[in-house]
Amino acid sequence: MDSAFIPEGVKRCPFPQFLAGLGLAGVVLAWGIFAMLLCWLKGLNQTNMNDSYGFALWIWADLAVIALGGGAFFSGFLKYIVGKDELKNIINFAVLIGFICYSSALLILAIDIGQPLRGWFIFWHANVHSMLTEVAFCLSCYFGVLTIEYIPLILENRQIDKIPFFHNLSHNMHEVMAVFAATGAFLSFFHQGSLGGIAGVLFGRPFAYREGLLVWPWTFFLFTWSAAAYGPCFTIFLIKLLEKITGKKLVKDNVIDLLAKISGWMIFTYIFAKIIDTWYWAVVTVQSKGQTLMDFYDDNMFYGLWILVAEIVVGGIFPALILLTKKGRNSASLLWAAVILACLGVCINRWVMVLQVMAIPVLPFEDWALYYPSWQEIATTILPVAYGVILVMISYRYLPIFPQEKELNPIESH
């Protein structure tokens, strides 16, 4: 039915099956949109946030998707700036995932603010000293860059490509893509960093506060580093997941191996820096505030020391060691384990830097504040996942996302 739009030389599932899949994701999307409208029309009283938990599930989801979407800028940086040409086979997908993650992040922010119609104040009345201002500017600009990177991919659709103007536009955009990749890497450095800075500058919150370099707390650099390190793992995870779902090999092993190896080194160096940061914070920063490390972990069922171990050891050291060894990268099960643990590791880090910061009492006579999200918060957090699934489904079906697919899956002629 839609075969004229499907890239040449590849096979896709029957159209009704595709529609059924879209419908399923569409139901979840509709649920999320309903919750989103409730939040916009009735206000944030639809959430379980409160005056202790001004930042909650959404901000975590925001930080997490931006970290996981870091595969886009780092893959672009590696291909166009460092010159790792093999990554051209993965860059389309990385850009698509980045586009989904960043558009989701912007949507989440639009739902999260109490007065959505005043969202533009952040640009118009910008406070240049606020890390959030830096986030808003860099995030919006980088989303623009991702859109520019995604457009040539859309233009490569079989039917659109037949129109000479779009064909030439796509070709010319590809020619200058290195400029956008460099711009994207530059912008990403700052917005990933400023997201880290959001927590790091809170000198009234000893759990989050970090010293640093000039105006940037150490979390600024750690967030950028971790996004570059863990983002490619999310890209690999999704490729492997897509291969499972489609039952096809989509990217050659050497490409995955290269990205996994680079990611392994990045995680290894990052986690080394993170350990030093944690150690310095625990023995110097926290002590100077009259507290000890265990003040932040001991007195609570949920935020025990296990979360620090899960983040650094299970979600950091383990995946790094697996990805650094050839044996680990070549073993399908170990590679799966590494990328899943890595994604969990960075998500735990973002969770800790948002929700644990809010949970910990600062005044000695206050108690821990725990919170659970309302269904509206959960639905609006799942909304971007459903939206992402739909966009991946449509892009995979109609656009040449994986250049090696045709070669890896030749269609037998009868």
Partner: protein, 262 residues
Amino acid sequence: MTQEYRKEKKYGMVIDLDRCTGCGACMVACMAENNVPFRDNETDKLKSITWMRIYQLTNGKSYPNEEICYLPRPCMHCEGHNGHSPCVTVCPAVATDYDRETGIVSQIPTRCFGCRYCMAACPYHARYFNWWDPVWPEGMEKSLSPNVSPRMRGVVEKCSFCFHRYQLAYEKAASEDRRELRENEYQTSCTQACPAGAITFGDLINKNHAVYKIKKDPRAFRLLERLKTNPKIYYLSSREWVRRAGDNYHPEEETGKIKSHQ
């Protein structure tokens, strides 16, 4: 230019915890004065707006050795280092500001778009979000203060040291061709409402104001001084465990020896 006309001030409070009975008159006065909204059901205190909030502190001992202390907590109007209060620097839209003329940390509800970053930054939980639009019981609109605009849903609010009173007092002084206010011309509603006289308000750097002298009392301490928030609320307590409850201390540390901005 303002320096030519008015001296820099740092308005602040000294709250004598030895005198405070925890009666809550300061809270009530604050809510009435500033049109602070409330709901039918206020059981969820994490969503209640109380610019002035009274904490009940205990010494952790059981009867008959248990002791209670009530600690009123308005906004601390932190100066931080050179005006860099924890909440002011983080606001992305300049909806809150450190006024160098008065030392008051302002909040501009019409500028605020409700990101709540300032709430995350404030270690005192002195900032409140309007989760709902204010709804007043029938007829109560008529008794609202005309000097303070009620805030709408989706924005942050907090104690302003009754800034409208400062403006009114200053207008009056200006009409009398005076550039400076007398101590009693500008007082917050909580100060005036306290039946025990536990709250003293004034300019912390004006030698003629009572707070200038009282803050030097050996019983004086501030909350979370070692975070370098540099708050303008001083507390007085003759009880060591109360002073110790004002900040985080290692077991071997003594109170009153923390170096911080003054």
